[in-house]
Symmetry: C3
Subunit: 208 residues, 3 copies
C-alpha cells in the first residue's frame, strides 16, 4: 500500500487507514485499520492494533500490543503503555450466539458501543485495563496493572484493582509535593496547583 | 497453505490446523497451530494464538491477542476478550533448566499439564487471567482485568483480583434483577432464575 | 537475514540481533531488535518483543507476547510467562509532548531509564506486571496476574495486586512444606531450606 510522504510504515506492519498524519511511524506487526484516525508525529509500537473508529490525536505514543477500539478517543500527547487494554462493551457476548436479544444488541444500531476518552497528556501504564465509558482526565497517570472502573480526575495518579487515587502528578509526570494544605508543587517544573472540591469530587487546578 | 472452502485466513495470518470449521475467519498476525481444533463460524482476532491441543467450539469469538493453550477447552458461543491469558501449568519453570525433577516434569508424560474448561456462552473480559484447572460455568461473565483462581458458577459475574462473585447475569449478558428473595429476572429477555444452595456453593437455575 | 548456524528463526519472525546464542529458537511474529542480547538454548514465543538493550541469559523461556525492554536483565533458566509486561520508566509521558522538562527527560542521557533484574531460575506467571527498578530473587515465582511493586526474595511465591509473599517455592517450582519452625522441605527434590531474618526482610537459605 502506498502511504503519504512523511509516514513510516514498517515492511511487516499493516496500515489500511488513509487518515494518518505526517511524521507518524508504525512499527512491525502493528495493524492500523481502515477508518482509524491517527494524528501527526505519533509512534505506534509493534503488535499494536487500532480498530476502525478509533481516534488518536497528535504526538501520541502507542506502545507495543496496545489495542484501541472503536469508540475510544485519545487526545494529543497521550502515552498509552504496552499491552494496555481498552474496552467498549459493558456486557460482552459472542455476537455469533443464536439468541434474539444478543443478535439485536450486536446489530446495525450498535447498542453495545460505549465510548471512552483519554484527555490530553495523560499516561496509561503497562497492561492497565480501562473499563467502558471512562474519562481519563488531562495529565492523569494510570499505574501499570491498574483496572480503571471510574472516571479519573485530571492530574490524578491512580493505582490498583479497582484503581484509586494515590497522589497528584504534574503535566511532566512527576509526583507533586504538598507545600501547604491543598497546595501542591512540582519539584521539576516549579508549577503550582491547588485542590478544589466539587460535591464529592476533588480536582486539581493549575495556579501557576 | 490451502484451506477448505468457506474458511477465511488473512494473508498475514498463519493457520496450520486442518481442523477449522466452515465460516470461521482468522485475522492478521493470528496463529492457529497444527493440532488446534476450531469449530465453525468462529472469529479469531489479530495476534491471537491457538496452541496445538486447544479446543474451540462453534460460534466462538476469540478477540485480539488472546492466547489459548493445550489443555484449554472452550465450548460453543463463548466470548474470549482481548488479551485474555489462559494458563496450564501450576508451577512453571523454564523447561530447559538443568534440574532432573524439572526435566522429568516437562518430559513425555506432561505431568505439568492442568486442564481448563469454559462452558457454553460464557464471556471472559479483556485482559483477564484464568489460573490452571478452572471451570468457568455456562453464561458466566469474568470482568475485564479479573484474575480467576476458583471455579465460577454458571451465570455468575465475577470481578477483581482474586475474582469474586458480584452479581448474576443472563444468557444475553445483562445483569439480573432480584424480584424477590433468591428469584432473579432479566429485564431484556424476561427469563427468570432461582438460586440453589448446594453445600457452600450457590448456583443459579433457569426457571422460565 | 542470515543467522548463525544453530539458531532457528521462524519465517514470520524478525531477528535483527547478531547476539543470539546457539540453539535458540524464535517463533512467528516475534521481534528481537538489533542490540538485544539473547543467550543459548532459549525459546522466544510468538509475538514476543525484545528491545535493543534487553539482556537474556541461557536456557530462558520467553513465552508468547512477553515484552522485554531496555534496562531489563534476565538471568539464566528464567521462565517469562505469556504476556508478561516489564516496565522501565517510573513516570512515563509521551516523549513527543512539547514540554521542556519532558524533552530533557527523554533526551540523550536517558534520565527516565530504571533497571530491572530477574535472577537465575525465577518464574514470572502469565500477564504479571513488573514495576521499574525491581529485583526478582533467584527461583522466586510471581503468580499469574500479579503486579510486583517491591523486590521479591529468592524462593518466594508472590501473588496479587500489589504482590505479597504467600509461600516459599523450591528451585523446581513446587511449594515447600514447613517441617519445623522456619525449616522448609521440598517433597519433590528433598531439598531443605531455612528462613533467615535480616532487619525486616525474611529470606530463604538452602541448607541441603
Amino acid at each position: 500500500m502506498v502511504h503519504a510522504a512523511g509516514i513510516f510504515v514498517h515492511a511487516q506492519a499493516l496500515c489500511e487507514s488513509e487518515q494518518v498524519g505526517e511524521g507518524t511511524r508504525i512499527w512491525a506487526f502493528a495493524h492500523v485499520m481502515k477508518g482509524a484516525v491517527v494524528g501527526h508525529d505519533c509512534n505506534i509500537g509493534d503488535h499494536a492494533f487500532l480498530e476502525a473508529g478509533a481516534r488518536i490525536g497528535d504526538r501520541v505514543t502507542i506502545k507495543n500490543q496496545a489495542t484501541v477500539w472503536e469508540g475510544v478517543e485519545i487526545e494529543d500527547d497521550v502515552f498509552v503503555g504496552p499491552a494496555v487494554s481498552f474496552t467498549n462493551d459493558i456486557c460482552p457476548r459472542s455476537a455469533r450466539m443464536k439468541l434474539p436479544t444478543v443478535a439485536k444488541r450486536y446489530g446495525q444500531a450498535k447498542e453495545w458501543l460505549v465510548r471512552t476518552t483519554v484527555e490530553k497528556g495523560a499516561s496509561l501504564g503497562a497492561c492497565c485495563v480501562i473499563l467502558p465509558g471512562i474519562r481519563i482526565g488531562a495529565y492523569a497517570t494510570v499505574a501499570a496493572g491498574a483496572v480503571v472502573t471510574r472516571n479519573v480526575p485530571a492530574h490524578a495518579l491512580v493505582v490498583g484493582v479497582p484503581a484509586r487515587r494515590r497522589a497528584w502528578v504534574c503535566g511532566c509526570g512527576l509526583r507533586l509535593v504538598e507545600i501547604e494544605n491543598a497546595f501542591w508543587h512540582c519539584p521539576q517544573c516549579n508549577s503550582s496547583f491547588c485542590e478544589r472540591l466539587a460535591g464529592k469530587c476533588i480536582s486539581l487546578i493549575r495556579s501557576s
